[in-house]
């Protein structure tokens, strides 16, 4: 991970009447193109003779790592990072990342634009028990709207897929972003064409227009209101096996190995310093206690339900 701050334009002496800069926060997970999106925006600002500062955290190429980029532009920009609650636009390439950064958005005047795509990282599931649900954050579009009235949730990935290239999802979102900013469509398209691989120029041109139209055109009004975010799937019911921990009290010497080594902290020593199963529900049948007990006092049995001992 690397934090880089680039000042695109040499700083001029501060004009006494500096207008407040426009703040755009672009967020997503590694591999989605957050940096590409912010570079397009920064280039566009430079071309329009604005001062721009961009500051990013990147390098989380493995899916799941959070990536963000602050883009600030205007007549004068001093600090490279957006203060809490002062982003004018939050552009999210992934739904939970959008939610994560919501506090940066100005709740009254800010605009929230987010792909409804959900990339659930493995570590969102801290419970190793079979069938456990993940902690992936869930908020419906309505809940976000209560916080920021000016919110757009969109299946940008689905739209880009419709154009034949799901990787153009970020350009769909750029099209949406363009409706909130004062730059010409031609300028946007020219810079996008320079920034994407040559073979994908056409699909990105279409993706941009599709995103822009989706927000502007009345034809999409109903569609805009019907977007929903998928609820995380409910935990599958796991009842095919029964875990049965057999403790031979007469052999236990209370050494504490199993108690300390159990990853789920299922075991405890009772008042006679003999092991007991204190939290049976947490047991995943990993067998560490069975393997590490020097006195063979624990045996883990996993029965298929049909043959389970009641």
């Amino acid at each position: 991970m690397r934090v880089s701050t680039s000042s695109a334009v040499e700083r001029e002496p501060s004009p006494t009447t500096a207008a407040e800069p426009t703040n755009v926060l672009i967020v997503g997970v590694g591999g989605q193109g957050v940096i590409t999106v912010s570079k397009v925006l920064a280039q566009l600002c430079l071309q329009n003779k604005l001062k721009v500062k961009q500051s990013e955290i990147h390098g989380m190429a493995k899916r799941g790592g959070a990536v963000f980029s602050h883009v600030r532009f205007g007549r004068e920009v001093y600090s490279p990072t957006i203060p809490l609650g002062q982003a004018d636009i939050l552009l999210a390439l992934e739904w939970a990342e959008g939610l994560r950064w919501l506090p940066y958005l100005n709740p009254e005047t800010g605009t929230f634009i987010s792909d409804t795509q959900q990339i659930i990282p493995p570590f969102s599931c801290r419970n190793r028990k079979r069938g456990a649900t993940s902690n992936y954050v869930f908020r419906s579009v309505e809940q976000v709207k209560q916080h920021v009235p000016n919110s757009y949730a969109v299946d940008a990935t689905g739209m880009a897929e419709g154009l034949g290239n799901p990787r153009a999802a970020n350009t769909v979102l750029l099209g949406m972003l363009s409706t909130a900013l004062d730059f010409s469509v031609d300028d946007w398209q020219a810079i996008i064409a320079q920034s994407v691989p040559p073979k994908t120029v056409e699909v990105n041109r279409q993706a941009f227009l599709l995103g822009r139209e989706w927000i502007q055109s009345d034809a999409h009004k109903e569609e805009r209101e019907q977007v929903e975010v998928a609820k995380p799937p409910p935990a599958p019911v796991v009842d095919d096996v029964v875990i049965d921990l057999e403790i031979t009290e007469a052999w236990c010497k209370g050494c504490d190995i199993c108690v300390k080594m159990c990853p789920e902290r299922c075991l405890a020593l009772n008042s006679s310093e003999i092991v007991e199963l204190a939290n049976p529900d947490a047991c995943t049948a990993c067998r560490l206690c069975e393997w590490l007990c020097p006195d063979f006092a624990i045996a883990v049995h996993v029965h298929k339900k049909e043959t389970a001992i009641a």
């Binding site: 052999w251 010497k253 050494c255 300390k260 007990c293 045996a299 996993v302």
Partner: protein, 282 residues
Amino acid sequence: MTEASMHTFEIRDYLRQELMPHFMCPGCGHGIALRALLWAIYELDIDKDRLAIVSGIGCSGRVGAYIDANTMHVTHGRPLAYATGLKLARPDLEVIVITGDGDCLAIGGNHLIHACRRNLNFTCLMLNNEVYGMTGGQVSPTTTVDRFTTTTPLGNHEPGFDSCKLAAAAGAGLVGREITLQVPALKNLIKEGINHPGFAFLEIISDCTEIYGRKNQLGESPEMMLSQKASTRSDVYRNTVDQPFRPNAFETGVLARNDRAEYADNYRKHVEKTMDVLKSGD
């Protein structure tokens, strides 16, 4: 071995249950080593009647007594010598020696180097707890420098043996080391040792919590096991450039292979030759 059969291993089938609970102190790593050995025997499907355990004197040597198979509990330092005789007389047996660092490297050090030199096909598990546990905690040939024992009240000033390097240099067919915390890896290493057609020397880093651990304030068994883990370096990392381990870490895994001729064939040829000479009356 499939997962299914791994899960059907019942240690009690291999224990002399009437002797249980065993005499080892709470948290002694020797019990974990015993589990790994019995698990390996189960997975290799070695018939108990064909299994011969030879063990020396010490807490480590006592481990053999709990195995429901043919067991010999022999004199201090000599299990390798007994095992050599046994294997030569009964090549059909699967002979496994259980010994300790004191048993194997101090009083039995000579037997070790000659067992390595001969390369007879049997396996030696040396449970290294860095101390003479059974006799109350005297210094051993593997005690870490500066550690306290009853015979080194000011701290041990002698350097210890790296028993694996010693065995490899003396010509053992296969040399390996593992800690008790890594039970499946230890079981696999023991299987490899048993399968090797020559002398296999395996050092198992054990812990004597009650005496050595307490005297040196090394914590309870879980802490001792975790610090063993921190001071070893798996062979998985051997060829990696970036080794995030302290340089003096012990390597674990298979550390040396020496594909030399196994001893028994030559021995039998020699016996035939001798018989011929005797018969011809020269």
